[in-house]
Each structure stands twice: as structure tokens, then as C-alpha cells.
Amino acid sequence: MSFPLLTATAALPAIGAIATAAVPAARRNAAKALALFFSLATLVLAIVILVRFDPDGDRYQLTESRSWIAEFGVRYELGVDGIAVALIALTALLIPFIILAGWHDADPLETGNKRWRPTQGFFALILAVEAMVIISFEATDVFLFYIFFEAMLIPMYFLIGGFGDRAHEHGEETAATQRSYAAVKFLLYNLAGGLIMLAAVIGLYVVAGNFSLTEIAEARANGSLDMATNTERWLFLGFFFAFAVKAPLWPLHTWLPNAMGESTTPVAVLITAVVDKVGTFAMLRFCLQLFPEASKWATPAILVLAVISIIYGALLAVGQRDIKRLVAYASISHFGFIIMGIFAMTSQGQSGATLYMVNHGISTAALMLVAGFLISRRGSRLIADYGGVQKVAPVLAGTFLIGGLATLSLPGLAPFVSEFLVLAGTFSRYPVIGIIATFGIVLAALYTLVLYQRTMTGPVKPEVAAMPDLRARELLVVAPLIVVLIFLGVYPKPVTDIVDPAVKQTLSDVHKKDPQPEVEAAK
Amino acid sequence: MNPVNYLYLAALLFTIGATGVLIRRNAIVVFMCIELMLNACNLAFVAFSRMHGNLDGQIIAFFTMVVAAAEVVVGLAIIVSLFRSRHSASVDDASLMKL
């Protein structure tokens, strides 16, 4: 059997996590360096996958398959299609920046306690999350996916609850309580979703007799496995619920603002840019492939929820007083777009949605990380505490603006491509939904520009007068992301080429064809 | 005489014992009520044994007595130690742990 590339890609950060955690308390910087090294190594492997992957080849490539728990009919099956490759690349790309951005976020406050090693823990946990996310992108066995989909919660939980944002207006005490509230909320929401899904997973086993995505999808396709309509619907709902919590879809979204608000910005980025993508990805891979009929049955309801998310999230973003919560609600709006694109069941919609996952990851990372730098300077998350930053820290302001423009999906930046694809894809089948969703782009402009205006422009607030501009490390974090944003905005072809075939496959799974234009071109 | 009546008696005794457990406070008395229940069981065994005409029931009765004796030993030991440390054998006083 050839070199297990996928396993390696997932295992590497895991090993890194252990290694990082093992670094003694005093050698804090060694731990950071180690973590960064492992994340970069993972990035290299991800690039290898990207290269080795052949868009026009089989649906699942680089597959691995070993027996694992025969008792449950569970196999250790890995394989990637274009969608997974894109998202793995995204994850591997973002983690180094997240680590770099969080360089000082976990330095221990009291250094007396030799046993207490927050820094090591912080970076180890980040790497652990990366490992689990990657393997859940790779898993083609429902059970295997579920395991890591769930297990992922634990390191995330510790990241959120253990390493809160130090910039808190009400002092450390309330910060701690709010933080653990956010962490518990995050965990319980997702755990509840996961457990519902567990029931569905078991149900799937009872119906299908094994967990192999490929086999079941195969059987569904050639009709050798037909589920009773209601069974399929219940199972679909079980799966979808978990993913909708993770994504998050209105009205299951309220954990996200708390989690993103209370956690350190790198972790916030980790949540929204990486971990939540597993939810939308899973909708595309599992919901549609395993339960095509039920997916179509649920489409209208889901589209409505998605549109509500888009508008609702944007409106709440407008109403926020807290920078990070604002970004969180903006993300909710964007996830609405992604889900809408997935369930529009058109190739534009789904390619757009996949592209959207990637672009949103990068753009949110850019915006959020810059916001983090800003917050760490002033020590407050309240928009009202800023003003005139542009005058004292032009580079910071500039990058922040670009991040914002990406968030409002300005043409020329990556998110525009995906957003327009999603809208066009949706519009071509559900015009009304599409038009309502289009209002989202106006609201996006509103919350982004209001945020920029209140924080960056106007007379310089005395508190920010002495604010230093971006440091080298911070610029090193932001600049590449911006470059990627612009590149993918001008030339998204590399990504679309990888994603497109996979999307075609998915569409054929649900037996859907793109609506044909009314007026056909003569040629 | 119809052995079934003995069964009724056994059931009656058993119920009396159970009721005693439920209503009496003194640990010793409660314990005696349990013994009563055990003996009710014995009676039932013997009666059934008579009905079925095999000896199993009677043999079991002997076992039961032994078990009962063992229980007495252990039980009294515990109850007495409790009594000595609290100067009361009321089960209701032994309610430090609750909720």
C-alpha cells in the first residue's frame, strides 16, 4: 500500500500537539516554535495532496481503508474529493497564521506556578483541533467522521474556556465567568447536536448495515438500498441538526457570538474559519449523498432558514457594540449564504458554496485577526472606545479596511466570486429567495462601513493617540492573507477547477440538473 | 387442610413485615420486621414444597434460616455500632446524608 498521505496529514498535527504539550514550562518559546513548525509541515503535506489530487480522476482519491471496529461495521476509510481537498488546504493554510497571531495570547499571567503551562496547552490544543478537522474532512466512513466531529469539541472547549480574551471591560472576574459560560454553551449546543446525530448514525447502521459513505451512496444510487421515506427523513434531520448547529444556522446560532466574543481572536478565527466549515462541508458530503430524497424534501425549509440567517445575521451585526460579536454575526450571515448555495442544488450554487467556505475562511481570518491586533492594543472590544485610528496607525487601518471590504464581498476580492456564484445559482432556481438574499450585500456594506467609520475615522480619541502601527509579526500574519484574497478574487480558476467535478458528482447524487436558460444560445 | 391457606398466611406475614419496615422507627424493630418477611418466605417455601411434593422448598427454608442468622450477625453489629455512637437506634436520626 502506498504512503498513507491522508493519515500523515492528519497525524502530523496530532503528533505536534503531543510534542508541544510535552515542552517544559520554562521553554515557552520553544513550544511556540515547535507548534509553528508542525503547522507549516502540515501545510506542506496539504500542498502535496493538492498536487497529487487529479480533478478529473476518481471521485475519491488517495483513499486508505483499514479494518477498525468490525463489530460495528466501522472501517478506517479515508479519501478526498475536490471539496475536501480545498478545505484541507484552507485549514492547513490558516493554522500557521492563527498560531502566529496568537503568539503572545497564552503567555501565563502568573509565572510562579511551575505546573501550570498554559502556553504549551494553547498551541497543543490548536494543533489537536487541526488534526481532528483535517481527518473529518478526509473521513469517508460515517462513524469515523462522527468520532472526530464530536471529539473536536473537547479541545475547542478548552481553547474557548481556558484562554479568554484579556481585553474585557468588566475585569478578569466577570471575564472568567462569561468565558466559561460561552465555553459551556458552545459545548452543550454542539454536544446536543452531536448526540441527536448519534441516534441518526445508529439508525443509519440499522438501515444500511455499514458505515461506508461510498458503499451506502452506491447502494442508494443503484437502488439496492432503499429507505422508507420517513426513515430517510428522520435520519436526514438527525444529521442536518448537528451540522446546522455547527454551521451555525438560524435559530441555532446563539452560541457563536458568545464563543467568538469571549475567546481570544485566534481561537475565534479557528471557530468560524475552520471548525464551523466542517458543518457546512458535512451537509454537502453526508446529507446530500446519504439522503438525497430527504434533502430535496427539506430544501424549501432550509432555504428559508438560510435566508433568515443571511438577513438576520447582518441586521444583528449592524446592532452590535462589540467588534468581535459583530464579526460573529456577520459570519452567521455568511454561513447563511453557504447553506443557501448548498441547497440551491445548482452547480453554481454548490461550487460557489464551496468556494465561499474557503474565501470566508480567509477573509474572516484577515478581518478578525486585524481586529484582534487592534483590540489587544486598546484593551477593549467596544466599538465606541475607538476613533481616528486611521490617523495614528494607517497600515492597521488599511488592512482592516481590506478585510472589511472582503467581508462585504467587494468585486476583485475573493468573496465576491463565491457570493455571486451562490446568488446566481440560487436565483436560477429560486428567484425570490435569491432576491431577498441580495439585500444581504447592502447590509454587509452597512455593518462593515459603520464599523470602519466608528473605529478608524473621525477625530483621534485620546486613548488611541499613542497606538502603535502593525508590528512585523502582525504584518506577516495579515499580508499573505490579503494577497491570497486578491489573487483568488482575480483568478479563482485553480480552486473552481478542483471543486467543480466534485460538485457535479454531488449533484448527480441528488439527481438534480441545472435549470436551463430560457433562451438558448444559437451556437 | 389446603396448603394454599398457608400461602395466604405467608403473604399476610410478608405484608405485615414489609409494613413494619415502612412504619417503625427503631432500627432493631425494622430489622425484626425484615426477619419476619424472611420467615414468611420460609413458610411459603414449605407450603409450596408440600404442594409440589418435592423437598426443595424445605431445604431452601433451612438455607434461608442460615442466611437470616448471618444477616442478624452483620446487621446487629452495624446497628449496635450506630447505637453506640449516637445513643439512639432510630433510623430517622440516621439522616445526615440527604438531597
Binding site: 438560524w250 441586521l315 461550487s351 446568488l423 432576491i435 483568478y491 433562451v519 444560445a521 | 430517622d92
Partner: protein
């Protein structure tokens, strides 16, 4: 030759990238670099123009395909350019006027420490605008469309430390976004209806019609109206005009280039470019004409009431674009004239703005015309150039405006029927008002007694006229010391006057040059097509009528502002005047309905999110907790009660078992 097209855009884009990324080390040369690249682009434009003239009218279309942009199953968007007569016209206008204004800005922004960035933004604008007019499909056009929006956002808010500027910038972008929504919906409609949104297959050429013909009229109307919405946003047409007035917060060169000459005319370009669609959507066309007519009156009325010279000019811009949109709405009768007026307007309006800028430059950035007066002898060049621009815009016979505007009025009448009369009437009325308010501006600024004497400028009465100098950011930072003292009007430096002179030439001769032998008509016809409507009134009559209303307008204005002295503090004025000062109250409407309403909506939603959506979950948790607390009480520590529960339990067990058997 085609490959030059990309260079047109590349040059200013490169400039923008270098200037914005380059950092402080470029401060010294930045402005020259920017100007140079703009000029380069202009030269390339000329070369291409020459090339086009070389070909015969039919195949004067160059296309260049760079790369496939968004290739997705069933969805093709390319980065490809199309240069035909229409785009060519715009290219020359944009790069030409653009270069001049770059030059002008060198002097105007001399004292601003962020001048480099200013030129970066200007270059960015040029690139985006060129992309807009050169794109060969609507999606790429959309990129340029929002690109110019971004540039205008950055430039309006260039003095970000001024809250008013920042707000104006945000407002401009938001209002434009509403328009953009229209554009994107239009594109989606095209995509779903035709499966493409590229000009070639969609619009076709005049010999072989494009796909557009195949669609139902309803669809086409829909597309057309959405395009109109977009145009309204970008070209400040009613009901999306509110941003233009505030946009004057930006530096004056910006107002001249973006908010007078080029960007605001993009809407007209869009409509004319989509002629093939509009021609098939009569209802939409009617709406277009109505919008145009309403706006040209609206702008004119607003222009009459403003004391802020730039805002007055802004109102006039609105009104002039109204003319163009009206013309564009008339269909083949009007397209050419719309563009022609667009070009001439580009010249004289830019000239007027530069003149205004020059005046402000000499007056410590005072913008309140009531504090001007008798400036003609202090700044002669400015006076002459401004004056020529003035004559041009009011349509003084022989000057540019005369030809272009006159044609539009004719066309309006030529539309025929009652609507022809109505539109024509509006156009005429507009002409009268134009003459009035422009004369007013002229008189208040250059004639009358010198009201700026012996009293400090920038009295609190004119808060709208808050000059940037107060923040040390504006060109007049050098005058900072004298800011509150009496101004010393003086002529502006060469770098500023030269562009004004050039533009003045344009405003004088362009119209004539275009009209003699219908040069312009023949030039554009292959693209837009043209038809002479059957005008109920002869061209001569129209011209005479125009002359008459012109004289009336000027006379009234002279009576009001030439004869009587102009009060320094604005009189309360009639109800209409006060309304007009407030942009006919539609800003207040926006504020009350949209802003306030929006705030309430968001606030209540935040509340809902916290209490309702979150509350449900927390409520469940709480209730489980309460249940737990109550059930806990059962564990009361009494062994006997435990025994009771056991006894009850076994009883239930037995009962249940027996019951199972019974049923």
C-alpha cells in the same frame, strides 16, 4: 493592437499599487508618478483612437481576451475587453480629463502630507473606471462599477478625520450599493434567462441581433429596470441621488473628476451600452425618461437654493445627468446626444469645478458664495475659464452646451405624443432654471461688492462649509495661520490654471466640433444606432424657445443677484427655497424612515436574539435545573422513605407486569 487595451487599465492600476503599497519613501515623487501613468494611459488611448479611425465604421471594434475568470459548470465569466466607439469615447474622456485633473491636483494638494495616497486613489479610480467602460461582459463591468464606487468612497472620505467626510463617504457607498443590488439582480436575470451575460452574444451587433431578442418583454423590462436602478445609484438620479451633495466633502479635484465628469455618468453609459435591451423594453424606457426628467428639474431646483458653491454645482451636475438619462431613455433618437452631452458636460462641468476649487484655494477654502463677490479682478484666469464654462452650461449659442443640450430638447419633443410634449417642456424648463442658478453662481462669486472684506470667513452660519484646513489636512494647510483672518484672494498656480484653460477650450469648441457635419453622430451610430424621430416642432423653433427661456433665466437671476446686494447671511427664504436647501427634504425622509427605522429594527432584533432565541434554550436548561432541584427533595435521607419508594416501585412493577398480561 488589441493588446494595448489591457495596458490602458494596467498603467493606472500599477500606479495605484505602487503608490499605495510603496509607502512614505515615494512621497516625494508619488504625485508625478501618478500623473505620468494617467498621461500614459491617455496616450495609449490616443493611439488606439487613431487605430480605430483607421478602420472603416463597421469594424471599429477591438476585443482582447485575457483569461477565463470564473469557470463553473454552466457559468462562464471571462476577463475580456471590448473597445468600440462608445468605450473609446469614454476612454478618451476619462484619461484626458483624468490626466488634467491629476495635474491640477499636484498644485491643489500640495500641502497635504497624504498627497501620495491621494494620487494612489486617483489612479485606482482611473483603472476601475476604464475597466467599467472596457469590460466585454456585465460581471466584469460590475467589478469596475464597484471599483469606482470604492475609489469614490476613499476619495470622498479622504479627509477621514472629518466626521462629515467619513459619513458622506459611507453614505455614498451605501446608496451605491443599493444600485449595485439592481445591477447584480439584472446580471442574475440575464444569466438565468440567456445563460450568459457577455455583451457579444447578449446584445449582438446591429446586423445580427443578440439573444436579448428572444426573451419575453416582461423579462426584458425586469432586466432594464434593474439596470436603471443601478444607473440611478451611480449617476445620482432620483430616488438615489441623495449622496451626491454630501460627496462634495471630498477634495475639489475629486468632485470635478468623479462627481462631475466621469463616474457619475457611468449610469448613462450602462443604459446606452444596454441599448439592445432597452429598445425592446418600452415600459422601462418610459420609466427612464421620467426619472431623467424628474431629476433634471430636481437637481436644478436644488442648485438654485444652495449657497455652497460646490453643492450648487453638484445640483447642476445632477440636473445635467438628468438630461442625459432623459435622452438615453428616448431610445435611438437620444442615445447619441446623451453621450455627446455627457462629453461636453465632462468638459465644462470639470472646468467649473476646477474653477470653484481655484476660488476656494484663493479664499481659504471658503465655500459659501455669500462670502465671495467681486473676485473677477483678483483671479482673472479663473474668472475667464469659469465664465466660459458658465456660458457653455447654460447653452449660450455656439458653445458646447448649446449644441448638446439643444439636441436633447429636440429629441425630447421628437419622442412625440403627449409624453413628448411633457418631456420637452421639462427639458425647456430645466434649461431656464439652469440659466438662472448658473447666473446666480456667477454673479455671487465674481461680481457685486467684495463681501469677504473686513470680516473673518467661516462664520458659524455656514457649518456646511466646514473647510478641511481646520484639520490641517487640506490643500490650504499653508493658510492655516490666516484661516480665521481676512482672506487675500489670489490667482492659483500654473499647475492649476493650465488644466482649467484646457478644459475651457473644450467647453467652448467641443460641441461645435462634434456637431459640424454630425461627426459625433456618425462616429457613434454603428454602436448605438440612431433614428430621427418625427418632431412635432421644427428644430429651429426648439432652438428659439431655448434661447427665450435662457434669456428669461439669466434676467431673473440678474434681477435678484446683480441689481440688489447679496446678504451675507442667507435670508430665510420661501418654503420652496428652504426645502431646496435641504435637498427637497428627501434627506430628512431617508433619515427618519431608513436610518431611524433601521436603528429601531436592529435594536429590537438584538433584544429578540438575546431574550427569545437564546431565552428558549436557557429556559429549557433552567427548567431542567428546577426539575432536578425538586426531584432532589425526594432524597430526604430517611431510610424508611427510601423503603417506601422501593415498596411502591415493586408494587408498580407487579401491577405493570400483570397489566401487560391483562392487555
Amino acid at each position: 493592437m488589441e493588446n494595448l487595451i489591457a495596458l490602458l487599465i494596467a498603467a493606472p492600476l500599477l500606479g495605484a499599487a505602487v503608490l499605495l503599497v510603496g509607502g512614505r519613501r515615494l512621497d516625494a515623487v508619488g504625485h508625478w508618478l501618478g500623473t505620468l501613468l494617467a498621461a500614459t494611459s491617455f496616450v495609449i488611448g490616443l493611439v488606439l483612437f487613431a487605430d480605430l479611425l483607421g478602420k472603416d465604421a463597421e469594424d471599429r471594434t477591438l476585443t482582447q481576451h485575457l483569461f477565463s475568470w470564473i469557470p463553473v459548470e454552466g457559468f462562464q465569466a471571462d476577463v475580456a475587453f471590448q473597445l468600440d466607439q462608445l468605450s473609446m469615447t469614454f476612454v478618451l474622456l476619462i484619461t484626458g480629463v483624468g490626466s488634467l485633473i491629476h495635474l491640477y491636483s499636484i498644485g491643489y494638494m500640495e500641502h497635504d502630507e497624504r498627497r501620495r495616497r491621494f494620487f494612489g486613489y486617483l489612479n485606482l479610480f482611473l483603472a476601475a473606471m476604464l475597466l467599467l467602460v472596457l469590460a466585454d461582459n456585465y460581471l466584469l463591468l460590475y467589478v469596475g462599477w464597484e471599483g469606482v464606487g470604492l475609489a469614490s468612497y476613499l476619495l470622498i472620505g479622504f479627509w477621514q478625520h472629518k466626521p462629515s467626510a467619513a459619513t458622506a463617504a459611507k453614505k455614498a457607498f451605501l446608496v451605491n450599493r443599493v444600485g449595485d443590488m439592481g445591477l447584480s439582480i439584472a446580471i442574475m436575470l440575464m444569466f438565468t434567462t440567456f445563460g450568459t451575460f457577455a455583451f457579444g452574444p447578449l446584445l449582438g451587433t446591429h446586423e445580427e441581433p443578440g439573444l436579448a431578442g428572444g426573451a419575453s418583454e416582461a423579462t426584458l423590462n425586469g432586466i432594464a429596470l434593474m439596470l436603471l436602478l443601478a444607473a440611478c445609484g451611480k449617476s445620482a438620479q432620483v430616488p438615489l441621488q441623495s449622496w451626491l451633495g454630501d460627496a462634495m466633502e471630498g477634495p475639489t479635484p475629486v468632485s470635478a473628476l468623479i462627481h462631475a465628469a466621469t463616474m457619475v455618468t457611468a449610469g448613462v453609459y450602462l443604459i446606452v451600452r444596454s441599448a439592445a435591451i432597452f429598445n425592446l423594453a418600452p415600459d422601462a424606457q418610459l420609466v427612464v425618461t421620467i426619472v431623467g426628467a424628474v431629476t433634471l428639474l430636481f437637481g436644478a431646483i436644488v442648485g438654485c437654493a444652495k449657497d455652497d458653491i460646490k453643492k450648487a454645482l453638484a445640483g447642476s451636475t445632477m440636473s445635467q445627468i438628468g438630461y442625459m438619462v432623459l435622452a438615453a431613455g428616448l431610445g435611438p433618437i437620444g442615445y447619441v446626444f446623451a453621450i455627446m452631452h455627457l462629453v461636453t458636460h465632462g468638459f465644462f462641468k470639470a472646468g467649473l469645478f476646477l474653477g470653484a476649487g481655484s476660488v476656494m484655494h484663493g479664499m481659504n477654502d471658503e465655500v459659501d458664495m455669500r462670502k465671495y463677490g467681486g473676485l473677477r479682478k483678483y483671479m482673472p484666469v479663473t474668472f475667464i475659464t469659469f465664465g466660459l464654462g458658465y456660458l457653455a452650461i447654460i447653452g449660450f449659442p455656439g458653445l458646447s452646451g448649446f449644441f448638446s443640450k439643444d439636441k436633447i430638447i429636440e429629441a425630447a419633443f421628437a419622442k412625440g405624443g403627449t409624453e413628448g410634449w411633457i418631456l420637452g417642456g421639462c427639458a425647456l424648463l430645466g434649461a431656464a432654471i439652469t440659466a438662472y442658478y448658473m447666473t446666480r453662481v456667477m454673479l455671487m462669486t465674481f461680481f457685486g461688492e467684495e463681501r469677504w472684506k473686513n470680516q473673518p470667513t467661516r462664520s458659524p452660519q455656514a457649518p456646511s462649509a466646514e473647510p478641511a484646513a481646520a484639520y490641517g489636512g487640506d490643500a490650504a494647510a499653508g493658510h492655516g495661520a490666516a484661516a480665521t483672518a481676512e482672506p487675500h484672494p489670489h490667482e492659483s498656480p500654473k499647475s492649476m490654471t493650465i488644466p482649467m484653460i484646457v478644459l475651457a477650450f473644450g467647453s467652448v469648441f467641443a460641441g461645435g466640433f462634434f456637431s459640424i457635419g454630425d461627426r459625433f453622430l456618425h462616429w457613434l451610430e454603428p454602436v448605438t444606432g440612431h433614428s430621427h424621430g418625427d418632431s412635432p416642432v421644427s428644430a429651429l423653433t426648439v432652438t428659439l424657445a431655448t434661447m427665450v427661456v435662457l434669456v428669461i433665466g439669466v434676467a431673473v437671476a440678474y434681477a435678484q443677484y446683480g441689481r440688489r446686494p447679496v446678504p451675507v447671511v442667507a435670508p430665510r427664504g420661501s418654503l420652496l427655497t428652504r426645502a431646496a436647501r435641504r435637498d427637497l427634504l428627501q434627506d430628512d425622509f431617508n433619515h427618519v424612515v431608513l436610518v431611524r427605522g433601521g436603528e429601531h429594527l436592529t435594536r429590537s432584533l438584538v433584544y429578540v436574539d438575546h431574550t427569545l432565541v437564546d431565552g428558549v434554550v436557557n429556559g429549557t436548561a433552567a427548567s431542567v435545573g428546577g426539575l432536578s432541584g425538586r426531584m432532589r427533595k425526594l432524597q430526604n435521607g430517611y431510610a424508611r422513605s427510601y423503603a417506601v419508594s422501593m415498596f411502591g416501585g415493586v408494587a408498580i412493577l407487579i401491577a405493570a407486569t400483570l397489566l401487560m398480561r391483562a392487555v
